[in-house]
């Protein structure tokens, strides 16, 4: 029995998602280990983003269960919860394949919005804050400190007051991760965080993810195409193809799994060489 089965932070059980006649995910089960970096890989259209949308409540699964085990012992059945509750109560945060920052707000503001819920409580749902009661001021300062902490991690502290839309692509990706981290998640879902990054940005991203795993009680699940990234940073790999799980195990195991090689080779004839190289069997 592997480590991710002993103490999973999220159990995906018999997850099925249909859109009309199209079955995007079919009876998918896997575990996400606490403290692991788990990679979800598979060809385009395999249903990876759909899995994330089910976990974070943006889609209601047709069938199946999603059990989130928080470190304080609480259990949450994600398939029954509203999307914002999943972040607020079950502590699952996510980023998007097409970046969704608040472009017209500053970088600092982006990180402050992410701390909305604790700040609302501290401001007695605005009333206390409006009247200038003490508790809110302190929480506000703390929230700014948290934001600064993450800004230092992603090297954007000097640009804290610049609009988020002015950032380069790589910076935007990392800001979106920092923003998700500001919600204090126990599970962080990253949808293709390395897509479109140059090697330097990609390296910075790796460092950020390693740092998050080392210093925070946050398990990470990420969708990734770049095999070198997957092999380097992940502890556990789940491979999807046409909505079905075709492999599940350590990076070493998955790399040599004939199902995976077949699936990847079966994608497109002209991609064979490239894929072979990526998977490392060429």
């Amino acid at each position: 029995m592997s480590t991710w089965d002993n103490n999973p932070v999220l159990k995906v059980e018999h997850l099925t998602m249909r859109f009309g006649g199209l079955t995007a995910i079919n009876d998918l089960s896997f575990n996400i280990g606490r403290g692991d970096i788990t990679a979800l890989i598979g060809p385009n259209g395999a249903g990876k983003t759909t899995v994330f949308n089910c976990i974070t409540g943006f889609y209601k699964p047709t069938e199946g269960r999603l059990v989130m085990n928080r470190s304080n012992g609480e259990k949450h059945l994600l398939e029954r919860m509203a999307d914002f509750k999943i972040t607020a109560d079950a502590k699952v945060a996510r980023t998007f394949q097409n970046i969704r920052l608040f472009g017209g707000m500053t970088i600092l503001e982006n990180l402050m919005v992410a701390q909305h819920n604790p700040l609302m409580v501290a401001s007695n749902w605005t009333i206390g804050g409006l009247l200038g009661l003490g508790g809110y001021k302190k929480s506000n300062v703390d929230a700014i400190e948290t934001a600064k902490y993450w800004l230092e991690r992603i090297d954007l502290i000097d640009r804290a007051d610049a609009p988020a839309a002015d950032l380069s692509y790589g910076d935007q990706r990392r800001l979106e991760i920092a923003r998700a981290m500001c919600t204090g998640p126990e599970l962080l879902c990253l949808d293709e965080p390395a897509a479109g990054l140059n090697p330097k940005e990609s390296l910075e991203l790796n460092n950020l993810l390693q740092y998050i795993r080392k210093e925070h009680d946050t398990s990470v699940v990420l969708i990734e195409h770049d095999m070198s990234v997957v092999m380097e940073i992940s502890d556990h790999v789940v491979v999807l193809d046409y909505g079905v799980k075709i492999s599940d195990g350590s990076p070493e195991f998955v790399k040599n799994d004939p199902h995976v090689i077949a699936a990847y080779l079966g994608v497109e004839d002209d991609e064979v060489d490239q894929v072979e190289e990526e998977v490392g069997i060429a």
Binding site: F84, L101, T106, A114, Q115
Partner: protein, 444 residues
């Protein structure tokens, strides 16, 4: 290269305009050139009149107009609309000049009644103080709507409904229970907010155009109910004899116990006008104060985030329905306050004062001022409401001019007069405003 391009611009424009002229000629020959008339002299016989001059004029006008539009707007690579906006300072006003305007206007508003009194006397200044009261009412309404449209990005076309709820709340409470203005002012705000929540709950699931249409319909429904519930609201006759506000219990009446005799002044009806002026001034400032404070609080930031990207908000654990509802209810509350002020100032209200045109004017003030900009709303309200009143003589052309100004401003400064967003929180002291080009308008 340059010359050839100029040439082709001219040639293309002339060709296009000639085509238009030919079409006009064909149409005008029949529609303008021939006129059937009854000849009075010859026993009511029909006769045909040819008006070739009119046809020629029509064709020429179309040709010249189209040529001008082609050359200056349509076929150019750099239409003057672009050049025009280039003439304006980029990124809106700098922090310095914007502050000067802000405090200048504030100072002016504080001393305005006395300056006018000093200058024009009690009789002559009354009309202008009345106008200033009207402008301030719209400033307050604009600021209230700015929360909904400018901050939260929810397009509300029925805002006047809450203004009506506020006005009728006060009028009815005073009519049936004899409540005073000062008691009714908060009640009117609460009732309007309550209606905001009731209407908002089903409506706020919709987005964009749908939201706009449904809020428009709700605005009309409230007006139609007021119009038809004759026994309760007086229907089209309206409600009259609405009590005037008192100054800490002092009525603005002649004789013993009135405001004038208490302060040892000679009675003058202008006292009440000046009092009303400062009342709406204080109410508007209160609206602004609350809004500016809320902007720096989590709820205000959530409104703006909602305008930027609703899905991202939900992914950050923000309850978007509640957040929208608070914006809607708060905007409605300020409209309710303004409504009860309107009722007490007029002494008479009827559903006619709460037509869609009012909503449109308030929205125009917000949009022209620059979505989300507080000082922009003030400038737009002064220009629009002041302009309306100054051009009262040209009654028929007012709407025409109003439309033209809107078009010019939208071409000139598409994001409104003040188009820069101040960050709600900043690390450095001299954080710059965010150019409106980056700020989203919201999708509902």
């Amino acid at each position: 290269m340059q010359a050839r391009q100029k040439d082709s611009l001219l040639v293309a424009s002339v060709k296009d305009s000639l085509g238009a002229a030919v079409i006009t000629f064909a149409l005008a020959c029949v529609m303008i050139g021939l006129r059937v008339d009854v000849a009075s002299g010859r026993g009511a016989e029909l006769f045909l009149e040819h008006r070739w001059l009119a046809v020629a004029v029509a064709v020429l006008v179309v040709f010249a107009g189209r040529l001008a539009m082609n050359i200056f707007f349509w076929k150019r690579e750099d239409p003057p609309s672009l050049n025009l906006s280039g003439l304006m300072p980029k990124g809106g006003l700098g922090a310095g000049s914007s502050n000067i305007i802000k405090y200048g206007l504030l100072g002016l508003a504080v001393v305005l009644p006395f300056v006018l009194m000093f200058w024009l006397g009690a009789r002559g200044s009354r009309q202008y103080i009345d106008l200033a009261i009207l402008v301030l009412t719209y400033v307050m309404l604009g600021w209230g709507l700015n929360i909904v449209v400018g901050l939260a990005g929810l397009l509300d076309l029925g805002y006047v409904a809450f203004y009506a709820v506020g006005a009728y709340s006060y009028a009815l409470l005073a009519h049936y229970f004899g409540f005073s203005f000062w008691l009714c002012l908060p009640l009117a705000g609460i009732l309007a907010a309550f209606w905001g929540i009731i209407l908002g709950f089903p409506v706020l699931r919709l987005r964009g155009d749908y939201l706009a249409i449904v809020t428009l319909a709700f605005g009309e429904i409230i007006r139609v109910v007021l119009l038809n519930w004759y026994q309760f609201t007086g229907g089209p006759d309206g409600l009259s004899g609405i009590p005037r506000p008192s100054f800490f219990g002092l009525e603005f009446t002649r004789g013993e116990g009135g405001f004038a005799s208490f302060f040892g002044l000679d009675y003058s009806s202008i006292h009440r006008i000046i009092f009303l002026y400062y009342l709406i001034f204080a109410m508007a400032l209160f609206t602004n104060f609350v809004t500016m404070r809320l902007r720096r609080m989590p709820i205000g930031r959530a409104w703006e985030a909602l305008r930027e990207d609703e899905i991202a908000c939900r992914a950050l654990g923000i309850n978007t329905t509640n957040t929208k509802l608070t914006a809607f209810a708060l905007g409605a509350m300020f409209a309710g306050f303004a409504g009860s002020f309107f009722a007490t100032r007029q002494g008479f209200i009827s559903p006619e004062s709460f037509t869609f045109l009012e909503s449109a004017i308030i929205l125009a003030i917000v949009v022209l001022g620059g979505l989300g900009s507080q000082i922009g709303v003030v400038i737009a309200a002064i220009v629009m409401i002041g302009g309306f009143e100054f051009f009262r003589e040209f009654e028929e052309y007012r709407m025409l001019v109003f439309g033209m100004i809107m078009v010019v401003i939208m071409v000139w400064k598409p994001r409104g007069l003040i188009s820069s967003r101040t960050p709600s929180v900043a690390l450095s002291r001299n954080a710059k405003g965010i150019s409106a080009d980056l700020v989203q308008e919201g999708h509902g």
